[in-house]
């Protein structure tokens, strides 16, 4: 081995500061447009069911990735914006390792009447770290403030 000294300070070696700046617009896509336009008007979610295997996708999709077939418009359906927490974490630090001002609860929520789950933030007075099995419903922005993005779902709360 050629080097064994330890260093954690990135400015120790001679260096040059740079970045990889690039800005983007990400389109919602065809299925995404439909899902978010619905969510701007209603307090429910849209899901889509594969005509061959019967799997109900949420978020909804134009095609089934297993059967590799189209999911026609008539196979789209409205489902309640609620479900059961399958897994969760309570984060104390951010991506840089710095402490968060207050812990963030992020959960994978199995959405009722579907075979899928949504990633979401959870707000609760429950102090337990482990929230698996808890029934939660989405709290959405007021309708006149919805923009057609995931941020229209403010968080989920127990019901």
């Amino acid at each position: 081995m050629t080097f064994l000294e330890k260093q954690t300070d990135p400015t120790t070696p001679m260096h040059w500061n740079g970045d990889m700046q690039a800005d983007y617009f990400y389109s919602n896509g065809v299925a995404g447009d439909k899902f978010f336009k619905h969510l701007m008007k209603k307090d429910t979610f849209l899901a889509s069911e594969c005509p061959k295997c019967g799997v109900i996708f949420i978020p909804p999709r134009l095609y089934c990735e297993d059967c590799f077939c189209d999911i026609p418009d008539e196979n789209w359906m409205e489902v309640k914006s609620q479900g059961i927490i399958r897994a969760n974490t309570t984060a104390m630090i951010d991506a840089h390792g710095d402490p968060l001002e207050e812990p963030v609860i992020m959960a994978l929520i199995d959405i009722d009447e579907t075979d899928g789950a949504m990633l979401g933030r959870v707000k609760t007075e429950i102090l337990d770290m482990d929230l698996c099995g808890l029934t939660v419903k989405a709290v959405l922005r007021p309708k006149n403030e919805r923009e057609g993005t995931m941020k229209d779902i403010l968080y989920y709360e127990p019901y």
Binding site: K6, Q7, A91, H96
Partner: protein, 387 residues
């Protein structure tokens, strides 16, 4: 298909924020592998580079940047990349260069310089998510894996101390590894359980650290291998598999894509009963729970049984089924693609009897190495055999 042997391997020290550039790290690892094999650059027919997201080094299309340090200039050269799976996928690509007959000698170099990314390489992971569904929620990988760990613990009623035991074993195994970033002879389960809570249930000592480093491996065809050794180590089987990117639609308690990749590799290797026919394994362990998850995915025990076997000492270096005798990512470090050094180079060193202080005492004949990547969906597996 032609039979493929390993004839040399190299690995730099793993550390956070090394002075050396990515290509300098590649050069050092390559030079070690060439010296161990007793060959020079002119003997290499083709080169495979494995390196994970460009955003770590901060150089778009970094394969070209690393080229000259990897003995690739003027040769057929390709970079392969599938996130954390790269450390075993790059050697799979090197294997097929030789197995297909297009090369007699192929060099594989894996490099990662995460220290360039400031203030923390987690920044690079901000952009791996679905931009519509996931990114607006600002998740990060530690949070995501915390949910998978929770799901695994919930499904099989696993206690945190049985997960922490893996961190202790691997950091102790790394003692004596010349490249190790985090060896710790004296670490205890209590140390892990008392470490900083990052994203419940993940604590500071449950995670391998970001790192800089490189590793290299040289493959040789059966026709030429006797020029280099009388006791070759062979690649008997390879497998890879990727699950849906719609990770929210999957049960996270069992990595079925790892099982699919393992079955592919075992079939090629003629292994019918992996629990009896495989002597040791290097499952991918960026988190302590992942070793357990992957041990089950590799079909080396029943679902939910890995923590019990670990508690019983079965997976210790002198146990019946050693796991991560190298010290793994938990003990040696986690420069993503360069972990080929623990996952495949280590198989070679163990099977060739060159593992020094890390040598498994029971004369192992068959080992399996595995890596894991993308959004909890990619598995890459290789089986190596002595003689």
């Amino acid at each position: 298909m032609n039979d493929v042997a390993v004839i040399g391997a190299g690995m730099t020290v793993f550390q956070r924020r090394l002075k050396e550039t990515g290509k300098e790290l590649s050069y050092l690892a390559t030079k070690m592998a060439l010296e161990e094999a007793g060959i020079t650059k002119k003997d290499i027919d083709m080169v495979v580079m494995g390196s994970a997201p460009d955003a770590f080094d901060g150089i778009h299309q970094k394969g070209e940047n690393l080229l000259d340090g990897a003995a690739g200039a003027g040769k057929p050269y390709v970079r392969v990349f599938n996130g954390g799976g790269t450390g075993v996928f790059a050697p799979i690509a090197g294997w097929w260069h030789v197995a297909s007959g297009v090369a007699d000698i192929a060099l594989v170099v894996c490099e990662e310089k995460m220290g360039n990314c400031y203030p923390h390489p987690q920044t690079a992971f901000r952009h791996i998510w679905d931009p519509i569904l996931d990114r607006p929620l600002a998740p990060n990988l530690v949070w995501l894996f915390a949910m998978e760990m929770n799901r695994y613990m919930t499904k099989y009623n696993i206690k945190k101390e049985d997960i922490a035991r893996v961190a202790v074993k691997n950091k102790r195994n790394a003692v004596g590894h010349p490249c190790a970033q985090l060896p710790d002879e004296k670490i205890t389960i209590e140390d892990v359980l008392n470490s900083e809570m990052m994203a419940w249930p993940v604590q500071r000592l449950d995670i391998s650290p970001p790192s800089d480093g490189a590793s290299a491996l040289i493959f040789c065809s059966k026709d030429k291998v006797r020029q280099f050794t009388d006791d070759p180590v062979w690649v008997d089987g390879v497998g890879w598999n990727i699950d849906s990117t719609m990770w929210t639609n999957r049960d996270l308690s069992f990595p079925r894509y790892v099982a699919n990749a393992a079955r592919m590799a075992y079939k090629m290797a003629g292994i019918h009963n992996p629990r009896k026919e495989i002597d040791f394994a290097e499952p991918y362990d960026p988190f302590d729970y992942k070793e357990l998850h992957h041990m089950e995915g590799l079909l080396l025990c029943n679902k939910g049984e890995a923590p019990i076997l670990t508690r019983e000492g079965v997976t210790e270096r002198d146990g019946n089924m050693p796991m991560c005798p190298s010290g793994g990512l938990m003990g040696v470090g986690n420069p993503i693609a360069a972990t080929m050094g623990q996952k495949i180079c280590e198989l070679y060193w163990q099977l060739a009897g060159k593992a020094g202080k890390r040598q498994i005492p029971t004369d192992p004949q068959v080992g399996v190495g595995q890596a894991w990547g993308d959004i909890m969906q990619m598995a890459t597996v290789a089986v190596l055999r002595r003689g």
